[in-house]
């Protein structure tokens, strides 16, 4: 078995893919893909910092990688894994154990932010002024005031993993250890509990201008509306890309078309508009290997799909795309 695909991100017209053997592969339209040896073990997390890729691994290293494969070590935490990474507006952050490290543009040394438990997720807001850190018991919200980071707490029992700000910065949402999402309305710290999922939510993404938050963890892509005064409070989600008996494991936005890709546990991938009356398009059939990553190039020319057995499907997205190939 090949090393599983652990993630994929889009850097302009290049897609970077992380693998369980520590390698990163770069895919560009019309070119052969390139391979970079990055980590000793698993590439655990990836983020885009301008025209560079940031990765964290189970070898304790936090790396910056250029598109031509130059690897620079930003930090090394030894036997402690680098679990989460994020970047925004020239600043970047990673977490190892209970600690988040933030590097700002003007400084070479990281600012060290401690938390009550291991960090489950990291996210900057759109402006890069706030950093949300998810952990056991809720989220610590760090706000940059002149030269210092000040914290406030968003409390909700249980462990919180992946975390994200809504594009307008009004909400924070986390994927929990339980089969549920939790959200906070930041103006009054009001809670939004979104439960009822049959499986753990491993993947979430924002779609469109009146944004919907699309999530995996059910047999369809569950898309919560975050427009209006109270967001999803008291409203039903839009449920599209029905996978039958299969559970979605990966979602990715195609905002320009107000659509979502949903990858499933059996390897199938559907593309659907956020409209329950429309049928989904089948991009890829069942293969038996769980979909672990989906990414689209900035020009929307190509889509990349990766699975737990290390297979990559790299294909043009629109009609005429008969040059799909597995790598």
């Amino acid at each position: 078995m090949d090393a599983p695909v652990t993630g994929a991100v889009s850097l302009g017209d290049c897609i970077a893919v992380g693998f369980g053997d520590g390698s990163v592969r770069f895919f560009r339209p019309g070119l052969a893909h390139t391979v970079t040896r990055a980590h000793e073990g698993v590439v655990l997390c990836m983020a885009v910092d301008g025209d560079h890729l940031l990765t964290g691994g189970d070898d304790g290293r936090f790396l910056r990688i250029s598109l031509d494969g130059m690897v620079e070590e930003i930090a090394n935490f030894g036997t402690k894994w680098v679990d989460c990474v994020t970047a925004s507006h020239g600043q970047y952050a990673c977490s190892s154990g209970r600690t988040a490290y933030v590097w700002s543009k003007e400084k070479t040394n990281a600012i060290v932010l401690e938390h009550v438990s291991t960090v489950g997720g990291l996210a900057f807001d759109e402006k890069g002024k706030r950093l949300a850190v998810a952990h056991y018991g809720g989220v610590t919200l760090w706000e940059r005031k002149e030269r210092r980071w000040k914290s406030s707490k968003l409390v909700w029992k249980g462990f919180h993993g992946a975390v994200t700000f809504s594009p307008d910065g009004k909400y924070i949402v986390t994927a929990m250890q339980e089969n549920a999402l939790h959200g906070w309305r930041l103006r009054d710290k009001g809670d939004l509990a979104m439960s009822g999922y049959p499986a753990k939510i491993k993947s979430l993404c924002w779609i469109g201008d009146a944004p919907h938050l699309a999530t995996s963890g059910a047999n369809e892509a569950i898309c919560w509306p975050f427009d209006g005064k109270d967001g999803p409070l008291g409203r039903a989600p839009v449920c599209v890309a029905d996978g039958g008996k299969q559970i979605a494991t990966c979602v990715q936005a195609l905002s320009e078309e107000n659509a979502v890709f949903a990858g499933f546990r059996d390897g199938a991938v559907l593309l659907s508009q956020l409209d329950e009356s429309k049928d989904a398009i089948v991009l890829k059939g069942s293969s038996g290997a769980e979909v672990t990553a989906i990414a689209v190039t900035a020009s929307l020319s190509h889509v990349l799909i990766g699975d737990e057995k290390g297979h990559i499907l790299w294909s043009t997205l629109w009609a005429g795309g008969s040059n799909a190939k597995s790598v």
Partner: protein, 323 residues
């Protein structure tokens, strides 16, 4: 999920000085031809350089699912998920717990997190006990008693430093707390690794191997706060509905005091044997094949825990008999 794709996980408990580190060093350095990942807490001063040693902080999380005693090891969920993404297939994973830690959250992690349950399986809880000092430790620390109670295997170490009579007494003490654990006598943890790792002790199949002999034996104890075991046998078939109602409520209300439970049940109207095993209030049960021909069908259950005499277990079990 196919069992063969699940990596077995051995949970290693035991007090400081009992010999856990000696055993871990053997697992990491011996030429056994297997790939074992070891999850440790503050790996000692030996400083073994091995990419399969993972440093963890024991983080016990309460689940937000309304059940108060449902605690899991958050760090394990994270690390096991990460290890499953490795390119190389691991033969087994060994999780070291510190001497004072309660093994329950580790065991419960394998029942509660679906992804962990899909990709890995709890293989056995192995407790390393110091034959010389176990008596004193049992008197002074209730954790020592719990570690014996949870064990599938007790590695009774340092037996070369103790007289034969005392050894028999220590074993009897272990048996009183936990009659179904396998006891392996060793010096310097020199037991064959295949008797420690890859045992499949948590498989429901293994419940069937519970010896009827000790099930029939009665129990006795000195203090109310002691951990003891109790077992019942019924030749009359049980009523499935009645049993589910009673057992569900029992685990819900007394699960904190019931450390382990196991059973093979004969339900009226069921052709197959029904087998279960539990850790605290979490239980895994399913039909498990036909009854052996020519042998009597009967139901047998074992409970290990605290205050189990005050739970009305016998009456509850009796009341499950089909009318």
């Amino acid at each position: 999920m196919d069992n063969s794709t699940q990596v077995p996980v051995t949970v290693l408990t035991g007090f400081l000085g009992a010999g856990k580190t000696t055993l871990l060093n053997r697992i990491l350095t011996e030429r056994h031809g297997k790939r074992y990942a070891v999850i440790v807490n503050e790996f000692g001063e030996e400083g073994i350089d091995n990419d399969l040693v993972v440093d963890a902080d024991e983080e016990v999380f309460e689940m937000n699912n309304g059940c108060i005693c449902c605690t899991v090891r958050g760090d394990l969920i994270r690390i096991l998920s990460g290890l499953m993404k490795r390119a190389d297939q691991l033969d087994a994973i060994i999780v070291e717990t510190t001497g004072l830690a309660d093994p329950a959250p580790v065991a419960q992690t394998f029942f509660v997190d679906q992804e962990v349950a899909d990709r890995t399986k709890l293989d056995a809880i192995v407790t390393v006990a110091d034959a010389v000092h176990l008596d004193t430790q049992l008197e002074e620390h209730h954790e020592a008693e719990e570690q014996i109670a949870f064990a599938d295997v007790v590695l009774l170490n340092k037996t070369d430093l103790i007289e034969g009579d005392s050894l028999v007494r220590v074993e009897a003490r272990i048996r009183k707390i936990n009659p179904y654990a396998k006891i392996i006598r060793t010096a310097r943890c020199a037991a064959p690794l295949e008797e420690i790792v890859g045992l499949n002790a948590f498989s429901l199949d293994r419940v069937l191997e519970v010896e009827p002999d000790f099930l029939e034996s009665d129990h006795d104890h000195d203090h109310d706060d002691d951990i003891t075991s109790v077992s019942f046998v019924s030749d009359t078939p049980l009523d499935f509905e009645k049993f589910q109602t009673w057992f569900g409520k029992l685990l819900q209300t007394r699960g904190q005091d019931i450390l382990r439970s196991k059973g093979i049940l004969d339900f009226e109207g069921f052709d197959d044997r029904y087998v279960f095993q539990g850790v605290h209030m979490l239980m895994d049960g399913s039909p498990m094949g036909a009854w052996p021909e020519g042998k009597p069908r009967n139901s047998r259950v074992v409970f290990i825990g605290r205050e189990i005499d005050n739970m009305g277990l016998k009456e509850g079990f009796e009341a499950c008999k089909a009318a």
